[in-house]
Each structure stands twice: as structure tokens, then as C-alpha cells.
Amino acid sequence: MAAALPSEGMAARIEALRRITFVDVVLWGMRILIVFVVVGGTIGTLIQGRYTGEQWFDNFMFGLMIGGVYALIALGYTMVYGILRLINFAHGDVMMCGAFTSYFLANGLYRSGYLDAHPVISMILIMGLAMITCSVIALVVERICYRPFRHIRTLAPLICAIGASFFLQHSFRGMYGSSVRAYPDPVWLEGEFEIFGFGIPYTQPFVILIALAAMGALYLVVNKTKMGTAMRAVSEDRDAAAMMGIDVNKIIVFTFILGGCMAGIGGVLFCMVYNQIYYFTGFLPGIKAFSAAVLGGIGNVPGAMLGGFFLGVVESVGPALFLDGVGIRAPYQLRDLIAFTMLVMVLIFRPQGILGERLATQRA
């Protein structure tokens, strides 16, 4: 009888095999597929040599530019999450509202020639209007959709956020129609200059520098001011912060205003990159910025900045680098696919994001 029983080592091995579930197999399959696409695609593309250095550089710069916009929007998601543990899904549409409102001012300035004649003042006015609009709408959404649920642990605020997102989209559609409008294209952003033999359109440094300046300002506010420190304190321990005399509601309002300002700047820049605006403009950059925030580690301010640039560059360079090499035609159609595949992969394999905070180590 004893001979019929499997030996101890054998039993252990069977036990180990039994512990490998179907899900494990699928996850490993996904890992292998991704490594294959990334490595194989890259090698394939480089061997084919279909793209010139100039094209690579163009893609990279475009990625940095659009990544800066994603980063600005992502900051709004990440700060609100840090304070309220809530994904503000209306944030992309808040951005649209600001950009859309500023469109009317920008268009007026453009038609009168003022935008071309006085770029600095015009841009300050346009962005200021967008920032104010975004902040006000963000505060209204917070007051109506989130505050009533502050002390209730349900999905209600999340569902409310999605509802607010639709509400904003369709109220702008109702007010201004569903046609795509051309966002003004000032004459001083036309043309390009040359560095190391590569041509760079003026739009790119313009967007990247404004995005960096806005992020630098935000970083200083969050890290060096009393309100910013209180924000970080509330995000760490809301009750202890209240015991120290910090008015938590005030901090939440402050957070939504900061996020709104970043979204306002991001929205104007986004529209200046693509030269168009309509009621649905906020959706895609909103979701991508959310992906960027998760990618960087949601709740983490530098993470959102890093995640934004990273996502922008990968989705811009990725189609040519990874997809072309594995024989996919017209890879640029799949840009968005790359962005959202990254979101799913991060959630599965590294839910804490690049800078590794939160979600995984959340306090109860």
C-alpha cells in the first residue's frame, strides 16, 4: 500500500501546482504578451528603420507637451483623492467647462486682434477666466455631490461624480450645441524654430513651460504654505487635523480650488494644442489624466506630475515604437488603447503606482 502513495516531495509539488489558479495563468500570459509587444515591437521597428530621428524627436516632444497637460489635470484627481479618498470623475468635465467658457473670451480677443497683439495679457485673462470657472464649478460639484456623503461609506459619491460629469457635459451641449468649434490659434504660436537640426513648433515649449510653471507654483503652495501643509495633514489624518483646530471643510474647499486652477490651465493648453473645443472635450483627457494619476500613485502630488509626462510620452512614442514593429497597421489609431492598457496593467500589477504610495497601504 505504501508504495502506491505519492512520496512527500511529490505531494508538495502537486500541492504547489494546485495553488496555481486560472487567474495566475492569465496574468502571466498578459505579462508575457506585453513583454513580447514592447520588446519585440521595439526591435522590429528599429530593424525596419522606417522612422527618422526627426520623427522620433517629434513624437517625444509631442508626448512631453500633451503629458504636461495630463499632469495638470491629474493633479486635481490626486489631490482630491488624497483628502477625500474619492475619485472626482467629474474633473475632466470641470476642465471642459473652464476651457469652453474661456473659448468665448479667447475668440473675442482673437477676432479683435488683441490676442495677437498682446499675447501675455490675453493669455493671463483667458487662463484666469478658465481657472475661475473651473474652481467655481468644482466647488459647486463638491458642495452638491460630495459633501452630503462625506461621512457615509458607500458608492454614492462615486455615482454622483459620474452623474455630475454627464450633467456638465450635457448642460454645455444644451447651452452651446454639439458642434466642434475652432479654438483660436494665435499668430505668435505659428511656425517653428530649430535646435540641433530638429524643428520644434512654438506650441510645444509654450505648453510645456506653462505646465511646468503651474506645477512648480502648486508644488510650492502644497509644500511651503500653511494651507498646503494643512492639506497634507488632513490627507493623512482628518480627525487629528480637526483636533488641532484645522477646519477640514475649509481645507477641502481649498483643495478643490487648487485642482480647479490646474484644470483651468490644463484645459486652455489642451484646446490650444488641438485647436478645438466641444462639449465632450473633457472626457478623454479627463480619463487619461486619471490614468496618469493612478500611474504615478494616486494621492501623491509628484506622482501625478510624473505619471502625466510618462503617459504622454508613452502614448505618443508607443504606437510607432511598439505597435509598428509587431506589424500593426496605422498604429496611431491605437494611441488611446496604449494609454488605457497602461491603466489596466498598473491596476493589476502595481496598484500603488510608480511612486508606490496609497491604495495598497491605505489606512482603514
Binding site: T229, D239, A242, M243, G245
Partner: protein, 235 residues
């Protein structure tokens, strides 16, 4: 007149009647301790005083002024600060930022600088650690920081919840020494402690709580010599 006066406090957790009319007072220049077994209602009492828990009945007054229903963050402005159980310092902020948050309600820049110098004199260990992230401090240092942070608002009375929790005996002595210093600096302390013996050593007066009521009160000497207290809490 007592600095802090609590009359007939009742608190409910849903249907459960947690505090049945607790009355106590803290005078100028004294440490008053609230001792009792786990679940006797010590922390609940503190929570009711500092406005974190809703009070069903009873009254808290500060310097003779009844406080009524006030949000916790406004109570800090009036001078009641609680140093919570488990310290609850902001672990990702630096020591300096933590102290700054303690002074959040104050606007007088010079006064804040002066207060900071005073608490650093009281807790010199913090001085070398000002730029350090608070989460990296040892347990004893974190307790010191929690007290220092509480003192930064220049309170009229300091509520201390279980400062000795989770600390090695030597550190407990240090922390309790610091509590005495707080009193000597002119801030009366209401001290909630499981470690009844240590608490009575430094306190001027004490209250013993049992199942939501004050069952006994007296000076520290009386309580230390009381047979019931000895049997129940001092072993």
C-alpha cells in the same frame, strides 16, 4: 473658579448610554487624572469635552463660560486641546510642520515663534529633529511631539489621552516628567491613563471611573491609599 468645569455629562453611542452624568473640574496649576478600567468611559469623556462626540446632556464650561455646541476646531481656538490616544502625529510631515499645524488657529507670527521656543525648551529632543519626518521618530519622541503640538495653540487646558500607551517604562517616566513640566508652565492637564499608579504619582487630584460614572474622587494621596483603588488598579 475652575479652568475647566464639566457638569452632568451624558453621551450616547446609538442606543448605548455610555456616560451617565459625569462631573469633574480642573483647576489652575493642577494635573487631574481620570483613571479606570478599559471601557469605563475615560476616552468618551475626553471626546465629549473636546467636541468630537455629541453631548446629549450636560455642560462643559471654560473659565466659567458655558461652551454649548461648538465644532472641535473652534474649541481649539477657545483653548481646549486634546492630544489623542495613539499620538496621531502627522507622520509624513516634518517635526517643524507638525508644530506649525498645532498653531494653525493662531495668527500672531511672533507669538508662534515664541511658543515654539518654549515647547522646544520643554522637549529638547525635538530640537535636533526639526527637519526630520515625524514618522521616523521613536515612540517616546512621537509622544513628546504630540504634546508639543498640542501646546502650540497655547491652550487653557490640555487633555491628554493615554500618553504612556505602548511606551517602555523608562520612556513613560520621561513623558510623565514632561506632563509635570506642562503644568509648571501654567497649563492645567486632564490626564486619562490606564497606568493608574504612574498617573496618581504625578497628579494633584484624581477621579476613578466605572461603567460611565465617576465612582470615586480625591487627592492623589487619598486615592493612592484607598483600599478599593489599590485592589482594583494598583495591584
Amino acid at each position: 473658579m475652575a479652568v475647566l468645569d464639566v457638569q452632568n455629562l451624558h453621551v450616547f453611542y446609538g442606543q448605548i448610554h455610555a456616560l451617565h452624568g459625569v462631573s469633574l473640574s480642573v483647576d489652575k496649576d493642577e494635573i487631574v487624572t481620570l483613571i479606570g478600567a478599559n471601557g469605563a468611559g475615560k476616552t468618551t469623556t475626553l471626546g465629549a469635552i473636546s467636541g468630537v462626540l455629541p453631548v446629549a446632556e450636560g455642560e462643559v464650561s471654560l473659565d466659567g463660560q458655558p461652551l454649548g455646541k461648538i465644532m472641535p476646531h473652534d474649541l481649539v481656538k477657545m483653548g481646549i486641546v486634546q492630544v489623542p490616544e495613539g499620538r496621531r502625529i502627522f507622520g509624513r510631515l516634518t517635526v517643524e510642520e507638525n508644530l506649525g499645524m498645532g498653531a494653525f488657529v493662531r495668527k500672531d507670527k511672533d507669538g508662534i515663534v515664541e511658543s515654539r521656543e518654549r515647547v522646544l525648551e520643554m522637549f529638547p529632543v525635538l530640537k535636533e529633529r526639526m527637519g526630520q519626518v515625524a514618522g521616523t521618530l521613536s515612540g517616546g519622541e512621537q509622544q513628546m511631539l504630540a504634546m508639543a503640538r498640542g501646546l502650540m495653540s497655547r491652550p487653557r487646558v490640555l487633555l491628554l489621552d493615554e500618553p504612556s500607551m505602548g511606551l517602555a517604562p523608562m520612556l513613560v517616566e520621561q513623558v510623565f516628567g514632561a506632563v509635570q513640566q506642562v503644568r509648571d508652565q501654567g497649563v492645567p492637564v486632564l490626564l486619562v491613563e490606564q497606568n493608574a499608579f504612574m498617573a496618581l504619582q504625578i497628579a494633584d487630584r484624581g477621579y476613578v471611573m466605572e461603567t460611565g460614572e465617576i465612582s470615586l474622587q480625591g487627592s492623589n494621596r487619598e486615592l493612592l491609599e484607598n483600599e478599593d483603588v489599590k485592589r482594583a488598579y494598583l495591584g
